[in-house]
């Protein structure tokens, strides 16, 4: 009775119910794998992110001063350069091994895959996600630089993740450490498939790997190319733990990502030049499906 009589209480109860209902619908509809932002959100994210960039930049400059000038003027820089070169060379070796194993001749004969070229866009990490539940990083490149949603992101060490949220000048990357990011992986040595999923801040796990697969510690995991997001052969990480239960048909494999996320400063976005063509193909397929559905509906209507 008090609720009906007291205007404030009634107003509060109504507002609480409305906000809760809208929030519940929002939770149910929210996708953890992709988010398309509205124009309003674009403008606001683009307004806040430059401040994040400046803060990061100031910190980097201060850190750089201490690292490079005070501690050791030239050796530190050389070390960073050499490390980058070693990473690049390791990545190249990895790529060559993959090329050897790939049956290119048959692929060309069957015209399997289109060999879509990737445009490489260099970006700087400007911030991390505000919630520790998500392993998401923000970079200073967006739609205006040619970045597309779901573009894969790599470094010279290996796979970082894919573009989850995008504005005109900034983008959020869902890293391989996040449990919403699932990568179809391949154990390079034994060619065993599995799904690599983020687990915590340092490790990922590879699920659905058959018990029969003779995986050993230190095996290299690469992307399989399935799933239409990541190209084949990108270094994901190495096997650091294997769990085989006394029951079941699979084994749990723990992966240490190739990328050191604690020291991540620059990344490379692989933006497929064939994105528009792929999009048109998907749309054409969708239209065909819709036409077929409409036709079957009209046929069933006539049958009655």
């Amino acid at each position: 009775m008090r609720l009906i009589e007291d205007k404030d209480r009634r107003q509060r109860a109504i507002l609480n119910i409305i906000v809760l209902l809208v929030a519940f619908v929002g939770v149910a509809k929210r996708s953890q794998t992709l988010e398309e932002t509205s124009t309003f959100e674009n403008i606001l994210i683009d307004s806040f992110s430059p401040i994040q960039t400046s803060v990061t930049s100031v910190r980097t400059q201060v850190s750089s001063f201490f690292d490079h000038y005070l501690a050791n003027i030239s050796a530190s820089r050389k070390n960073v350069d050499l490390r980058k070169r070693v990473g690049d060379l390791e990545n190249s070796i990895n790529g060559f091994e993959e090329l050897e194993k790939e049956n290119k001749r048959l692929k060309d004969l069957l015209q399997f895959g289109q060999g879509i070229g990737y445009k490489k866009i260099l970006a700087q990490v400007v911030a991390w996600d505000a919630s520790s539940d998500f392993r998401v990083i923000r970079i200073n490149k967006g739609l205006s630089n040619g970045v597309r949603l779901q573009s894969p992101v790599v470094t010279s060490q290996g796979l970082v993740g894919y573009i989850y949220r995008l504005t005109d000048h900034f983008a959020d990357i869902l890293t391989v450490l996040d449990n919403n990011n699932r990568v179809d992986g391949l154990i390079q040595r034994v060619r065993a498939h599995g799904i690599v999923e983020g687990f915590n801040n340092e490790k990922s796990i590879m699920k659905y790997v058959s018990r029969a697969e003779p995986i050993i510690l230190g095996d290299v995991v690469i992307t399989s190319g399935l799933g239409n997001i990541y190209p084949k052969g990108i270094h994901v990480g190495t096997v650091s733990r294997i769990e085989r239960e006394s029951y079941g048909i699979t084994q749990n494999v723990e992966i240490t990502p190739a990328v050191d996320f604690g020291r991540l400063e620059e990344v490379v976005i692989l933006s497929a030049e064939g994105d528009e063509q792929k999009k048109r193909e998907w749309e054409a397929l969708d239209q065909m499906d819709e036409a077929q559905e409409n036709q079957s509906r009209s046929n069933s209507g006539r049958g009655r």
């Binding site: 205007k7 404030d8 209480r9 107003q11 509060r12 507002l15 609480n16 409305i18 906000v19 809760l20 929030a23 519940f24 929002g26 939770v27 929210r30 953890q32 988010e35 959100e41 606001l44 994210i45 806040f48 401040i51 994040q52 960039t53 803060v55 990061t56 910190r59 980097t60 850190s63 400007v126 911030a127 991390w128 996600d129 505000a130 919630s131 520790s132 539940d133 998500f134 998401v136 923000r138 989850y164 949220r165 959020d172 869902l174 449990n179 687990f199 915590n200 801040n201 996320f261 604690g262």
Partner: protein, 177 residues
């Protein structure tokens, strides 16, 4: 003040500015210093303050605005935090006569208790959506240090927010304005 939403706009604007500055500090500076595992959820701290101190029917809308601003810095979105915040404010409104933030120790303790309730609500929602219990266990170990940090900061931040929202330490907004 109780039902006058116009008087809420100014303090809300200042609170949003503080939240944005703290989010930038938390997302751009702290992780770059090597602390990538933990993040201080300042949005929870502000929402708890609104629940403890504010006497207005628009609390749920204020929570929504704060969470929506938070969502620009996190892919978490505004929804789960809004649900947790509104439920907690409803609980607080029933316990208001028992809750007196009269000293720093009590403020720290009560903030910690309600953060635990926040964790429970969000974990239930996450479990219903993801069906992954091990993730919640892993989240709990991150929640402990983060929530303790927030609780320790609470007396200081509540003091600042008291000035912004013009409330006295142990009274609800509306009566003193």
């Amino acid at each position: 003040m109780k039902g006058d939403w116009l008087k809420l706009i100014r303090p809300l604007g200042i609170t949003l500015l503080i939240l944005i500055v703290l989010e930038i500090f938390s997302t751009a500076l702290v992780p770059m210093l090597g602390l990538t595992k933990y993040r201080i959820p300042f949005n929870i701290l502000i929402i708890l303050y609104l629940g403890f101190k504010l006497e207005t029917p628009y609390t749920s809308l204020l929570i929504f605005v704060l969470q929506y601003t938070h969502s620009f810095f996190s892919i978490e979105g505004w929804e789960m935090g809004t649900i947790a915040g509104v439920i907690i404010c409803i609980v607080i409104s029933y316990l208001k006569d028992l809750l007196h933030l009269s000293s720093s120790i009590i403020t720290i303790f009560i903030t910690q208790v309600f953060q635990f309730l926040w964790f429970v609500i969000v974990s239930v929602l996450l479990y219903l959506k993801e069906d992954n219990f091990s993730y919640i266990v892993e989240k709990f170990w991150r929640f402990l240090p983060e929530s303790i940090a927030i609780s320790l900061l609470a007396p200081f931040f509540f003091g600042i927010l008291d000035v912004i929202w013009r409330t006295e330490t142990d009274r609800s907004l509306g009566e003193s304005v």
